[in-house]
């Protein structure tokens, strides 16, 4: 069994070993500590010159990575908690994202900013947020999210080695311990893979009737959506197409829209709060593309910060039950 964490670590290691242009920078990433979430373990020992531990300076560090990228390197920055990406918002949006367009393609900024988002660990309001929504839709910045399906490490490697634009690479903390699952040979589930570098996974219960509902999710919520879809199939005989996205911005909706043209019922699921979360764009694009007849709901966190106490956190963040009841309502079963 490989966990998402291990897979990401392996992807980072592969990037560093395949290209001398790759550098890894972040706070507390040197061995033996190996980073707050330990993805960096072993890297500074293997690549002592290209793994650079930094002061506690998120904005500066992202700017430094941009400078490196402009000089032909391919830096990867770890922001210890996703909550701190807000400190680097100016560097990402006002600087990194504009380089290619401004220079007419003469300059580019191949850099990856990796960061763990999400709660369910009791870390409280400034260490548990799902803030990528605040970065989606900034022209010139790509935002992607690791998924347990497929190969998250390979996706990280591709972001680092192949993507010539700045990428915010979001990892959900609670996903770290989840086992990576291949897209083939899954019991009772058929997976179609759309796209290559940042795939979208489409899941169906094998042999089930045509789906009446389409779920769209990413990150940890992709796992929750899968679990909900199984229960919907076996408990309610509601059959759903589940789409797990890895590319959040830009959004590649073709396969999703195909599914929706049949089901006409869309449920989006995300761990951040609902208002202008990822789901809003997914819903809006679906309505624009599909015209009248679409029904949609969004499952998301309650509209407040993420509390520390377990029972409070569980009430604020979306879980399988919330998905089930929204799905049942959307399918007309409640």
């Amino acid at each position: 069994m490989t966990t998402v964490l291990e897979s990401l670590g392996a992807g980072l290691r592969a990037s560093l070993s395949e290209s001398p242009a790759v550098y890894f920078l972040g706070e507390d990433i040197l061995d033996p500590y190996g980073g707050a979430f330990k993805i960096a373990r072993g890297l500074s020992t293997a690549f002592p010159d290209r793994v650079i531990t930094s002061p506690v300076s998120e904005a500066g560090l992202v700017g430094v990575a941009l400078g490196m990228a402009l000089r032909g390197l391919r830096p990867v920055v770890e922001i210890m908690f996703g909550d701190f990406t807000l400190l680097a918002a100016d560097q990402l949006i006002n600087h990194a994202a504009k380089v290619r367009w401004l220079s007419g393609g003469a300059a580019q900024a191949p850099m990856v900013v990796r960061t763990p988002m999400g709660g369910r660990r009791g870390y409280g309001p400034t260490h548990s947020q799902t803030l990528e929504k605040h970065f989606l839709g900034a022209p010139g910045l790509r935002v992607v999210a690791a998924s347990a399906l497929g190969d998250p490490g390979a996706m990280l490697r591709a972001a680092v080695l192949e993507d010539d634009d700045p990428v915010l690479f979001v990892e959900n903390k609670a996903l770290y311990a989840v086992a990576v699952q291949p897209t083939s040979g899954l019991q009772d589930i058929e997976v179609s893979v759309h796209g290559r570098r940042y795939p979208t996974y489409q899941l169906r219960v094998a042999g089930a009737p045509a789906p009446g509902l389409t779920l769209a999710a990413y990150g940890l919520c992709g796992e929750l959506a899968r679990q909900a879809a199984s229960r919907l199939a076996f408990e309610d005989e509601i059959f759903a197409d589940v789409f797990i996205f890895t590319e959040l911005s830009p959004h590649r909706p073709e396969a999703l829209h195909d599914s929706l043209s049949h089901t006409r019922r869309l449920l989006t699921i995300e761990e951040g709060t609902r208002f202008l979360g990822w789901g809003a764009e997914v819903v809006a694009q679906a309505v624009e593309a599909l015209g009248p007849g679409l029904q949609a709901r969004r499952v998301a966190a309650l509209d407040m910060p993420v509390p520390s106490a377990g029972p409070l956190e569980a009430a604020v963040l979306p879980g399988v039950e919330a998905i089930l009841s929204a799905a049942r309502a959307l399918a007309g079963r409640s």
């Binding site: 706070e27 507390d28 002061p55 500066g60 009791g122 409280g124």
Partner: protein, 322 residues
């Protein structure tokens, strides 16, 4: 349960601070030490949510500095805030309850270990991000010629740019704020030589802020050093910095210690508790210890008996949401 003079009293006018009292300082440090040791023990029992950062080894900073504040003074703290909170006068049982996610916690279990707001005490887990807030409070206080602000931060937080933006404004506007820089020689796992160039005191002086620098775990010395700084601040001469070189004995949070055990052992020789305890009159340390044991035991017991925080009612995020 905690010294009455530390209970903030918003109405009172500044009066002069009492001279440092070794027994009171010892007691305060012991409260912090025993509270945090109990926190670390409670973790494996699954009683505590999230994570925690203890100040074991650094207790003299909180106890010494905050023995010098006056009623109504404001304290701003960081992720490593238990000691500051207790020395400020925050109720121990509410802090234990906060870590255990109880309804009776300082913030009803919402904040957890790093996010405390209670009376005029504020802590937040974003490093450095509290310093502008502290400066803004000092600006407000200056307008009314009232209270002083004491803001604690660490060597690692000196990496954050907003700290310098804040120092500049504090100095430009001559605000009543004392910045206490607890240099424990590490930012998480990173030794200072790898994260900080130049000097710590120079970082303040470059902005025209005088910086007193001491290397000690003696709470009496810290209190005595703090006193004239706060006096000057109250007299309106502008901000001051107090740089305390110290060391933490426990891991950064829990279990994540990669420092050389010999180094830790070396610094443990300066443990603030035995150092000060030895200077107290015979029997005092023992009496205080018994008192503190009882207090800590009661705090955790009461906290554990309190009901879990309930999601039935959440506070508002906006006063008028809809």
């Amino acid at each position: 349960m905690f010294p009455a003079r530390r209970t903030p009293d918003r109405g009172a006018r500044p009066v002069s601070t009492p001279a440092p009292d070794p027994a009171a300082l010892y007691r305060q440090m012991l409260r912090i030490r025993r509270f945090e040791e109990t926190v670390l023990e409670a973790f494996p029992r699954g009683l505590i949510f999230g994570t925690t950062h203890t100040s074991i080894g650094q207790e003299a900073d909180a106890a010494g500095v905050l023995s010098q504040i006056l009623p109504g003074d404001i304290v701003v703290s960081n992720h490593r805030c238990h000691g500051h909170f207790l020395a400020y006068g925050g109720p121990m049982v509410a802090l234990a309850a906060e870590l255990m996610g109880r309804e009776t916690g300082v913030c009803g279990g919402r904040g957890g270990s790093q996010h405390l707001q209670w009376r005029d005490f504020y802590a937040n887990g974003i490093l450095g991000g509290t310093i502008p807030l502290a400066v803004g409070m000092a600006l407000a206080e200056k307008q009314r010629q009232r209270h002083a602000v004491v803001a604690f931060t660490g060597d690692g937080a000196l990496g954050e740019g907003v700290v310098y933006e804040s120092l500049n404004m504090a100095a430009l506007w001559r605000l009543p704020i004392l910045i206490v820089l607890e240099d424990n020689r590490y930012a998480q796992s990173t030794p200072i030589a790898r994260h900080l160039a130049g000097g710590i005191a120079a970082r303040f002086q470059a902005f025209g802020i005088p910086a007193a620098e001491i290397e000690t775990t003696d709470a009496v010395e810290i209190a005595a050093t703090t006193r004239p700084l706060l006096d000057q601040i109250r007299a309106g001469t502008g901000p001051q910095a107090l740089v305390i070189h110290t060391y933490r004995f426990a891991p950064h949070s829990k279990g994540d210690d990669t420092r050389d055990p010999n180094e830790i052992a070396r610094y443990r020789r300066n443990d603030p508790l035995p150092r000060l305890g030895a200077r107290l009159a015979a029997g005092v340390a023992e009496t205080l210890s018994a008192e503190v044991e009882a207090e800590v035991e009661a705090a955790f017991r009461l906290a554990e008996q309190a009901p879990m925080a309930s999601p039935a009612v959440f506070p508002q995020t906006l006063a008028e949401a809809g």
